[in-house]
């Protein structure tokens, strides 16, 4: 599964949402994901991919697509992708 697919699957589990219903470009708050829930979710994403997203980067993440870009970049930097 590609990075976005894995993120979507994680998000679907974390927030009890159908993965098909998750629009990667939708703002997270419209998906019912508040800031605290998102920080907890990020923790699990970091565990899943073995990467770290900085606080500064975190502030720029508004959608699941943004998140995928950061995770992909972190994977590339770590030579994992």
């Amino acid at each position: 599964m590609d990075t976005l697919g894995r993120i979507r699957q994680l998000a679907a589990k974390e927030f009890s949402i159908n993965p098909e219903g998750l629009d990667p470009k939708a703002p997270l708050d419209t998906l019912g994901i508040d800031s605290l829930s998102f920080i907890e979710f990020m923790f699990k994403v970091e565990d899943e991919f073995g990467v770290s997203v900085s606080d500064e980067e975190l502030k720029t993440i508004k959608t699941l697509a943004d998140l995928e870009r950061h995770v992909a970049a972190a994977l590339a930097a770590a030579g994992k992708a």
């Binding site: 589990k13 009890s16 920080i39 907890e40």
Partner: protein
């Protein structure tokens, strides 16, 4: 009701009436690490109350609280129209013990200091009550009481006060506890107050008021109630399970763990005075009765001091022999037990075969006793720290 004796109030009452014990041997790994052999554990199924991903982000105690509160609110039929006039009054001894202990295992145990972000809001003492408020949008008064074993009895009493003071029309009141973790069990074991497994029958390990008693057995669960003015409940035709009419609250101010007869006497007398009842009106007492050597004797003396001659007649039992000691959750759970007694079914002190003469009480031993429904019943909750709470319930 989320208890070792059933997942609904009806199941809980059926188990009590049958004198069935929910105490059992702990899982081998848990027993090996903590040194504790038995507990009143429950097989928790969060599915009716929580969405699939939610449980992972809520402490076990909070999950129990959400289950119990959802049941109570549904049973009350309370119209949830003005939620600013509905509050939450909750009790817990150790709050999110599971979350906190898991985080300690990770940090100190594995030297892994990358903590999950929800650690604080999952483990804080008010997490259970606050989640009940959030889940149901209850924007009235909120309080969380943490006075060890009297926590949720106090939550009920103070909820009654909040309504009487006009601060709320209704209160969701209860308590939850989930601390059957290796660390908490080991800490209790160190106090030398926990009963070992009964050699013949693990479910019979807790024997309050019995000469053979060897200490308490810890349990887990939650119980919740919806309280409102009697007139309001009657006006809307609600099913009234009982009337909470007396609340006594005193502090021994003597010792952290040794109970004090006079403090208990004061709390019982306060509750009777508030309800304008005499000892003769009380048909049953659900004792604190933890099955410790000292505690049971002091409580028996306190009951005798308050009830005098009437103590020969008033039936007493400790249902902790069956559901274990839920600590902060026990007051609310046992208030649910006295509702059964109001119907004339007195739950027994399980396994009480050799009453200790030093605990001179009219015991309901081993099997439930049926009497004509009493006018009023009493529930005692006495805590470490010297906090004494007594609740009185009357038939509607």
């Amino acid at each position: 009701m989320v208890s070792p004796l059933g997942a609904t109030l009806e199941e809980f009452h059926r188990s009590l009436a049958a004198g069935r014990s929910g105490i059992r041997r702990l899982a081998p790994e848990l027993a090996a690490r903590s040194g504790v052999q038995v507990g009143a554990t429950l097989d928790w199924n969060p599915a009716p109350y929580l969405k699939e991903g939610e449980a992972a982000n809520l402490d076990r105690a909070t999950q129990f609280a959400l289950g119990a509160a959802a049941q109570a609110i549904a049973a009350s039929g309370l119209p949830m129209t003005d939620r600013e006039r509905i509050g939450v009054s909750w009790g817990t001894g150790m709050g999110g013990a599971n979350t906190l202990e898991a985080s300690y295992q990770q940090t100190y145990g594995r030297d892994d200091w990358r903590m999950r972000p929800l650690t604080v809001v999952m483990s804080m003492s008010n997490a259970a009550g606050s989640n009940v408020a959030v889940r149901h949008g209850l924007r009235g008064p909120f309080a969380n009481y943490s006075t060890a074993c009297s926590s949720s009895a106090m939550a009920l009493g103070e909820a009654m006060r909040a309504i009487a003071a006009g601060r709320a029309d209704a209160m969701v009141a209860g308590g939850a506890e989930a601390l059957l973790t290796p660390g908490v069990l080991a800490a209790w074991q160190a106090l030398r107050t926990l009963a070992p497994a009964d050699a013949g029958d693990a479910s019979a390990s807790c024997k309050p008021f019995d000469k053979r008693r060897a200490g308490l057995v810890l349990g887990e669960g939650a119980a919740a109630f919806v309280l409102e003015e009697e007139s309001a409940a009657r006006a809307r035709g609600a099913r009234i399970y009982g009337l909470l009419t007396g609340y006594g609250n005193s502090c021994d101010a003597v010792h952290m763990s040794r109970p004090d007869r006079d403090g208990q006497v004061r709390a019982m007398k306060q509750a009777l005075a508030e309800a304008q009842l005499t000892p003769r009106d009380i048909g049953y007492i659900n004792a604190h009765g933890t099955a410790t050597a000292v505690g049971d004797v002091v409580e028996a003396e306190a009951i005798n001091a308050v009830f005098g001659e009437t103590a020969r007649e008033v039936r007493v039992s400790s249902t902790k022999s069956l559901h274990g000691h839920l600590l902060g959750g026990s007051g609310a759970l046992e208030f649910a037990a006295v509702l059964l007694a109001l119907e004339g079914v007195l739950p027994p002190t399980g396994f009480l075969e050799q009453p200790d003469p030093a605990c001179a009480l009219r015991h309901v031993a081993r099997e439930a006793e049926r009497i004509s429904p009493p006018r009023a019943v009493m529930s005692n909750s006495f805590a470490f720290g010297g906090s004494n709470v007594v609740l009185l319930a009357e038939r509607a």
